[in-house]
């Protein structure tokens, strides 16, 4: 190849090529100018006519069934009003129109503010569950307000209203705080998620996948063409361990009184009943709850939003005596046949401690003491054990730690000890305090579920993992309490039998819990009547004042005595008498369980008060089980 070539001809032609390029590019620029500048208004007009509407298709969440396949949580179609902000030219007119639907302007402003980061062409739900009148009102004005559309969306229906509200939970729009968390990275503003209870824990299992429809609409909002749609995928139905029949009894029996009932299978950990009163109606949350209702619920002094079963911390009262009994036997400080003489009270460390029976119980051994709930016996036992032994066995039975049930927000309760007191108050432990602790007063607090679980351990010798979801492969809960496995190895059968024997006598031998008796079902239990304020504090109050702090009534028990199938724990706040108020409720639950198991005829349950089946459900045919009936498999 020559080192130098005469390229001049080629170079001049290449220059010609450049001229050619520039000229043709000028044509492109000219046409661009024509479209984007000269005819910009024309094309903007055309763009407006290209009205696409993206209608979200909310995926129905999975239904929730009770263990017998009865629908607890359903979905119903709801007519919702949505606003397309990109089509709303005059918000003032929209506000005015919506006043006719009782949508206050402030609420609308709030919704608009919350959605400010979402693309304007996405639908924004303004009002849910429109009535027929409201629907016709909107349709009549459709021509004036093309920016508003009614869409059909599934709405969660909690068929029994307040029934098991705390266990089932509720749903709601994802909060701005949640959106920032990594766990919710795949969620978008406006998405509906489970916020409480099972709805929250198993949100990922229950939620389906939302779809959307893209519609080409004309200038008055009529659909011209469906562009393309992605169908919503239904969420998976789930079966819970709850038993509707037992739950109904708990709800009815608790009635308006604050309290909690929990029942479960101590072998497998299936939770049959979880009732906390006062409750709330999760249907209120199924439509975007309005603020006044929310404020009313969250500021209510009775804390209806609190799940008392796992969050309320009560003094265990005399129910604690069975834990004391285990501690005494296991640590070897007593023998079941050791006796104590009760003369109605006794002196410990310079103070006189009363028994609840003024004339005294006489000579009592362990099972007598449990049966009659003799304080003097347990004072004596407490003195022998010392606080740190009590602490050790309380914790072994699961107190002072979460039970590990598949719900968020469990409270820990409190098991006092010398170290605890030093740490929290800086003072040393007084031996006299141990005497109060020994009968379940003092600093000790438990949640109903902890107490029930401790009874479960006594009943079976091991702590089953508590759960509300039937399919254990899905189980999602906090790390299991360690005590369960420890107690498996530590608790000796003869000691457990001794305590169970005492608990059997509580119910079956005219003990304090005889109202829980079920013929043929060998119920064992323990009552408790726990003070809600200390003796010293009570002494300072007038009689009327003191009457405002009535004792809590408790009952814990299991049945049958051998091979137990069900543990029940009932707390009635201010119920005054464990044996008189709490034990009968437990008795009804035991009875129902027994009747169901042996196929006894069951009368229809009377549902009263707030527990009436949700009004919508009443008008609807019973919901058809989903395809394949995955919820009903047992």
């Amino acid at each position: 190849m020559p080192i130098f070539q005469d390229n001049r001809k080629l170079v001049s032609r290449v220059r010609g090529l450049r001229t050619c390029f520039v000229l043709i590019f000028l044509v492109l620029f000219a046409k661009l100018w024509y479209i984007a500048v000269l005819k910009a208004d024309h094309y903007r007009q055309l763009a407006k006519q290209n009205q696409v509407r993206i209608i979200p298709m909310l995926a129905p969440r999975g239904l929730l069934f009770d263990r017998g396949g009865q629908v607890l949580v359903d979905n119903v179609e709801s007519s919702n009003l949505v606003l397309f902000r990109d089509k709303a030219n005059d918000l003032e007119k929209v506000f005015e129109f919506l006043r006719g639907l009782n949508v206050p302007e402030e609420y609308l402003q709030e919704r608009l503010h919350a959605a400010r980061t979402r693309p304007k062409y996405q639908a924004l739900t303004i009002k849910e569950n429109l009535s027929l009148e409201e629907i016709s009102y909107v349709l009549a004005h459709q021509n004036e307000h093309p920016e508003l559309t009614i869409v059909e969306e599934p709405r969660r229906l909690y068929r029994y209203g307040q029934l098991a509200a705390h266990a089932l939970g509720y749903i709601g729009e994802i909060s701005e705080k949640q959106l920032k968390q990594a766990d919710f990275a795949d969620y978008r503003q406006g998405d509906i998620i489970g916020k409480y209870g099972v709805e929250r824990t198993y949100d990922r299992n229950l939620a389906g996948t939302d779809g959307q429809r893209r519609l080409l609409v004309n200038s008055i909002g009529r659909t011209i063409e469906e562009l393309h749609s992605v169908d919503a995928i239904h969420g998976n139905p789930q079966t819970l361990t709850l038993d509707l029949d037992l739950q109904l009894i708990a709800e009815t029996e608790l009635g308006e009184t604050p309290g909690a009932v929990v029942a479960f299978d101590p072998v497998h950990g299936d939770v049959f009943v979880m009732s906390s009163h006062p409750a709330f109606d999760p249907n209120m949350f199924a439509t975007r709850i309005n603020r006044t209702d929310w404020a009313k619920l969250s500021s209510d002094p009775n804390h209806p939003l609190q799940n008392r079963v796992i969050q309320a911390q009560f003094s265990p009262g005399s129910t604690f005596k069975v834990i004391m009994a285990i501690a005494g036997l296991e640590s070897g400080v007593i023998d079941p046949n050791d006796t104590v003489y009760c003369r109605g009270g006794a002196n410990f460390y310079g103070h006189y401690f009363h028994c609840h029976k003024e004339q005294g119980h006489g000579t009592v051994n362990l099972s007598d003491a449990i049966r009659q709930s003799c304080n003097v016996y347990f004072y004596t036992l407490g003195q022998k054990l010392g606080i740190d032994n009590i602490e050790r066995y309380s914790k072994l039975l699961g107190l002072g730690q979460v039970s590990g049930i598949d719900l968020a927000g469990e409270a820990l309760g409190l098991v006092p000890s010398e170290a605890w007191k030093r740490k929290t108050t800086g003072q040393k432990w007084y031996a006299g305090e141990t005497i109060s602790v020994a009968i379940g007063q003092g600093a000790t607090t438990v949640t109903p579920i902890q107490l029930a679980r401790a009874i479960g351990i006594i009943a079976t010798g091991h702590g089953a993992p508590l759960h509300l979801i039937k399919d254990q492969k899905l189980f999602r809960g906090p790390a299991m309490a360690v005590a369960a496995s420890e107690s498996d190895q530590l608790l000796r059968l003869e000691n457990l039998q001794a305590v169970r024997n005492g608990m059997w006598r509580v119910v079956n031998e005219y003990g304090t819990g005889r109202s829980a008796l079920v013929q043929g079902f060998e119920v064992c239990g323990k009552t408790g009547t726990a003070q809600t304020i200390g003796n010293a504090a009570k002494a300072k109050l007038s009689k009327e004042e003191a009457a405002k702090h009535p004792d809590n009534a408790l009952f814990v028990g299991f049945a049958p005595r051998d091979n137990p199938e069900i543990v029940v724990c009932v707390i009635v706040q201010g119920g005054r008498s464990g044996g008189g108020v709490a034990a009968p409720i437990a008795g009804k639950i035991f009875q129902k369980y027994f009747d169901k198991k042996y196929g006894r005829p069951q009368g229809p349950e009377k549902i009263t008060g707030p527990l009436q089946v949700a009004s919508h459900a009443a008008e609807l045919p019973p919901s058809a089980p989903p395809q394949g009936q995955p919820g009903i498999r047992q």
Binding site: L17, V22, I35, V52
Partner: protein, 362 residues
């Protein structure tokens, strides 16, 4: 050789201009990927860009004279490849022109264009006459038409069409007498009615709606019309990335490949669209400049082929978006999503930088 020496011989401006376009392309593909149909396109585009730069570097680092020396070898290999694909290739969108490598679909006909440029260069650079003789003309046409026929047989008319500007541009520079040009034009005009008969109905439609989009606003005119609406409604500064209603709502089809210009025009406005066109003009004139300064005929000819190729891609694609050329599905070099186009463009860029680098004799 020192780094400064290398840099002083490296056309940084051409490279920077191309990278600016690639960056705009990545922005556009990102915006398009906000909509689900193209959701994985963004990350793939990044990979293709990286791979393209690597190819660019490889092509740049081999003295183009060696490439021209082996042009016929490469050409024969390419023809073999095209035949192989015709027999065993994968069919996507009606074109049996795809090869699957590691799960990625790849269209070799894109890259063969660059090799045809080299082959034509090889043939033309050995001629000493100022004007092409008839046998030269025929030889050049044969060199270009063999791959064109194969690509047409594969069913990819758009890509086949892009071989013509290469051939035309290089023949013009190589010295095409006016009577040849006249003859070709006359022949073209004469063939047009015949060609019209050969075209499929949908192809005829596409050509017709170019002149009147309203002829079929929901069919073939639809794309053009929607793209014009996108460009026209963007305003001066655009709606912002990801906010273009036309682009994001799926009115404009193939938004991340064939109509990325419409997306950029809607979302970055008239300014963005002008910037894109200016950058192309800048890149093209840098290339022409490299041609002017090239050391030999082969350098000039390579540049001619590359510049013609890129120029026609831009004009046809942008013209389609603006509604002045028929809707032929060809990508916008450096901007459109797509691997094959990216690789051939980056290879071409590497060649241009290569010619610039070796412009002096040492």
């Amino acid at each position: 050789m020192s780094v400064t020496r290398i840099l002083s011989r490296f056309d940084l401006l051409l490279f920077a201009g191309s990278m600016a376009l690639a960056f705009l392309g990545i922005l556009g593909v990102y915006s398009a990927s906000l909509q689900s149909p193209a959701s994985s396109a963004f990350s793939r585009q990044l990979i293709w860009t990286a791979l393209g730069l690597f190819i660019c570097f490889i092509v740049f680092s081999i003295d183009y004279h060696h490439l021209v020396d082996y042009a016929f070898h490469l050409y024969v290999l390419s023809i073999g490849l095209l035949v192989g694909i015709l027999l065993f290739g994968k069919t996507i969108n009606g074109s049996k022109s795809w090869l699957t490598i590691g799960g990625q679909n790849f269209q070799p006909s894109e890259v063969v264009k660059v090799i045809v440029i080299l082959a034509l260069t090889r043939y033309l650079s050995n001629l000493s006459e100022d004007y092409l003789k008839r046998q030269h003309f025929i030889a050049l046409v044969v060199i270009a038409m063999i791959p064109v026929c194969l690509v047409v047989l594969q069913g990819d008319l758009g890509t086949a069409l892009m071989y013509f500007p290469i051939l035309g541009g290089m023949m013009l520079i190589g010295g095409l007498k006016f009577r040849f040009v006249a003859a070709v034009m006359a022949l073209g005009l004469a063939m047009a009615p015949a060609g019209w008969l050969v075209l499929e109905d949908y192809q005829k439609q596409r050509i017709l709606v170019t002149f009147d989009p309203d002829l079929d606003p929901k069919g073939y005119g639809y794309q053009t019309r929607q793209s014009q609406i996108a460009i026209g409604s963007g305003g001066l500064l655009g709606t912002g990335l990801g906010n273009g209603l036309q682009s994001q709502l799926g009115f404009v089809p193939e938004i991340h490949t064939d109509f990325i210009f419409a997306l950029l025009a809607e979302e970055t406005g008239l300014l963005g669209a002008c910037l894109v066109l200016m950058l192309y003009l800048f890149v093209l004139s840098r290339m022409i400049r490299i041609g002017e300064q090239a050391r030999d005929r082969s350098g000039i000819l390579i540049i001619t082929g590359i510049a013609s190729l890129i120029f026609f891609h831009v004009v046809i694609n942008v013209g389609m978006a603006l509604g002045i050329t028929p809707a032929i599905g060809i990508p916008l070099p450096l901007l459109s999503y797509g691997g094959s186009s990216a690789l051939s463009t980056y290879a071409a860029l590497g060649l241009a930088l290569n010619v610039h680098y070796h412009r002096f004799v040492y």
